[in-house]
């Protein structure tokens, strides 16, 4: 564990700083109202054409499993950490599979 920390000291430090900064930006952004609650370009196009209620009546085939989190600040932080974990996990998996393929090719 100590060796891991020693090896990735800088990376871990930068990662932590950036994550903390992002959390601070989200934490400050929502209360200050800097973040706009207006619809984005696609929503604006649909609302102008069909009305706001039509957009809300669109039927989904599934219920977004984390949509019960109403606090945008908490949702932002959970999403951020989830994205970080999945991205690191997925790219490590891809690297592992690549190395395994190369080993198998060289072995045969």
């Amino acid at each position: 564990m100590n060796r891991f920390i020693e090896k990735y000291k800088k990376t871990l430090l930068y990662t932590s700083i950036i994550i903390v900064l992002l959390i601070v930006v989200l934490a400050i952004g929502f209360p200050l109202g800097f973040l706009s609650g207006d619809p984005d370009g696609l929503e604006r196009t649909i609302i102008d054409s069909q009305g706001e209620t039509w957009l809300e009546t669109l039927e989904a085939f599934w219920y977004p499993i984390l949509s019960w989190i109403e606090n945008e600040y908490i949702a932002g932080i959970i999403g951020l950490l989830l994205t970080l974990a999945i991205a690191i996990g997925l790219f490590n998996l891809m690297k592992y599979l690549r190395n395994k393929r190369i080993t198998r090719t060289h072995g045969s």
């Binding site: 990376t11 604006r44 196009t45 039927e59 984390l66 999945i86």
Partner: protein
Amino acid sequence: MHLPDGLLDPITIVVLWIITIVFMIFGYFKMNNLFKNAESDRLIPYIGVLAAVIFAFQFVNYPIPGGTSGHLVGGTLVAVILGPWASLIVLFLILVVQSLFGDGGITVLGANAFNMGIIGGILGFYIVVLFVRLLNHTSLKKEIKVTLSTAIGAYISIVLAALICGIEISLNGIISIQVAVPAMVFWHLFIGIGEAVISALIVYYIYKAKPDFITTEAIMGV
């Protein structure tokens, strides 16, 4: 630009899923270069951070005049940093996490990845490459060439993605193409400015702070 469930017709959904899956499988084999060098172990945590940064930026809606808002898509930005194929994978996983919160639908993940990852990321990247090669005839510094090209590529790719998105939503016959396409393009002409500025600033910052994190210089020919 996150399409919700229920907006696209089934054929469009299936076709865009197929295109996205084919691109992702192809991309998986194409991006082996990313893992070739000895530094790739150190690169993976940064990829995670970059994905988290893009997630956070997509969460942050900045105001646009006329009661609209915009947010960074980040496809071109990620493509300039990690390469076009890795950018599609990163954008896809961000869209998956967002769909868990109801921001963008799950059945239209293929369509959203097509718009933001393939048009916004892969196509945007090759627009950047085109402009970098044009700027290679000037005496500008490397980081300025890439920064300017990123801004242009990000802007054009967002407007193109909006145009394609407008066509997609008109295919279900509820919103006419004469309404959807001009409206989508009009709003994204403004939203694209934010995309261009944020992408360029981040690329310039990386050049100053950690230039080896830009892994695509060889492809860009800079």
